[in-house]
Amino acid sequence: MVTRLMKKFYILIIFAFLYAPIFVLIVFSFNNSKSRGNWNGFTLKWYMELLRDRQILSALYYTVIIAIISSLIATIIGTMAAIGIHNMSKWKQSLIMNITYLPVLNPDIVTGISLMILFIFMKMQLGFFSMLLAHITFNIPYVILSVMPKLKQLNKHLYEAALDLGATPWYAFKRVIIPEIMPGIITGALLAFTLSLDDFVISFFTTGSGVSNLSITIYSMARRGINPEINALSSLMFISVLSLLIIINKRMSKDNSVKENA
């Protein structure tokens, strides 16, 4: 009984540590005064200013657009790569996989500056396109690493059976292989999408003037000091993340109960 209480107490302390800063941010996003110390009454003006802030709106636009395009392209290239690599000889496979691990293991800052050097070396204008290329590059390995295990589980004879039954290779690929590895593809795509949404370091080094994502905008605002608009942004983001997680959790528990009933 005592240990149970202690466990609850410990969880409470850790959660207080994790949530207190976020909670304070949210509360002070409704504060009328710009300074943090005193409460000057309830207001929604920071939210109104946020919605009128051109810089933040364009950053939001670039963040979402780059996340969608880069995860889409990375999923296509990565899935194709995983299937091709799967059929290669052992040593070629391990060579390519080792190189694939490089961006995963490398510190972000090294990946960022190495891509920046490449783009400048190739005399490319840093901006939207270079940032997109960088995002695709760091996304592809995660897609490959999500699809690979599914390919290893795949029953080889399924494909041969389809061919024996008269399917063309393309038809068998489309109707047998792809559905079998679909869960891996979806995991990879989602992983790529969230990583791209959240990335700061690599974007910071590969973008140019005029194009920035949300993380870069927050960084440059925070460096200049406290800004209540960031608080408003935080509470909006916290609420969207929270509702997303609740929806996912509800759906997952529904799936589980369906499976249990069946």
């Binding site: 943090r36 290239i77 891509l115």
Partner: protein
């Protein structure tokens, strides 16, 4: 299905955007521009051995080490509690634990700025109850706090997943044989959780040693880490050669620490670099 060509777009991509950039970094790190053109030289690495820069490296490793230790001390009990059966609504609690990780990394760091600054909430509270103000922001402790806050889940989750996979019958067998709780922990639970501890340590240490955001926002300009030094070389000073040499050193540190860690990780399945 035997077609290997469908991997070729990726291989081309990989060579252009993974291999060539890294080779460029290595190339810049060992060359120098003189009047006679580009020449091979190790002067950038030699320059790194100057005390000014060595201190930066030692400080990065020191702060990352302290953060890792604090994360382990705070995180291991948390992982054990999450893995234990007698917690109600366990799934919900694990979810709540992951939730802050989904918030933008910069917003989480910024949150601490607003708490710690001189006119921030903590100092307002202190002066409200009549205590003198403290300088909480822009020092070592603030940087360590930021690292612990941001990377604690990376320590807890691997340990939690290893602990919840432990076969309960082993623990029961030990108890049947007369072991008390402490011996069960020391001889059974802890050794079995080591792979999780090792990957937790790697996952906290690596981002801590390479960060430049936390040190910039919470440490101010004074507490430069190796990440800040690299950022400065590329964005402000424009000395790509020295910046590249620093990056190469950073890669070597990461590879060394991962090599050491993976020695303990016996379950590691092949395919990785180590």
């Amino acid at each position: 299905m035997k077609q290997r060509w469908i991997a070729y777009p990726y291989i081309v991509w990989m060579v252009i955007f993974i291999l060539v950039p890294l080779l460029l970094v290595v190339f810049y790190s060992v060359t120098t521009v003189t009047d006679e053109g580009i020449q091979f030289s190790l002067e950038h690495f030699k320059r790194f051995l100057e005390p000014v820069y060595l201190i930066v490296l030692l400080r990065s490793i020191y702060l990352a080490f302290i953060s890792t230790v604090i994360c382990l001390v705070l995180g291991y009990p948390m992982a054990m509690i999450l893995a234990s059966k007698d917690i109600s609504k366990k799934q919900f609690i694990v979810l709540l634990f992951i939730l802050p990780m989904w918030m933008n990394f910069l917003l989480r760091t910024y949150a601490w700025m607003t708490l710690l600054e001189n006119s921030g909430l903590i100092n307002t509270f202190l002066s409200f109850i009549g205590l003198p103000n403290l300088n909480l922001l822009y020092n070592h402790q603030a940087v360590v706090l930021g690292m612990v806050y941001n990377f604690l889940p990376f320590m807890v989750l691997p340990i939690y997943s290893v602990l919840s996979k432990i076969d309960k019958s082993i623990i029961e067998a030990a108890q049947d044989l007369g072991a008390n709780n402490f011996i069960v922990f020391r001889r059974i639970i802890f050794p079995l959780s080591l792979p999780g501890v090792m990957s937790g340590i790697t996952m906290v240490f690596m981002p801590s040693v390479t960060t430049f955001v936390i040190s910039r926002l919470l440490g101010g300009g004074q507490y430069t880490l190796i990440g800040n030094l690299i950022e400065q070389q590329f964005l402000y000073v424009g000395d790509w050669n020295f910046g590249s040499a620093l990056s190469v050193i950073l890669i070597i540190i990461i590879l060394l620490s991962m090599g050491v860690m993976s020695k303990y990780d016996k379950e590691h399945e092949g395919g990785g670099l180590w």
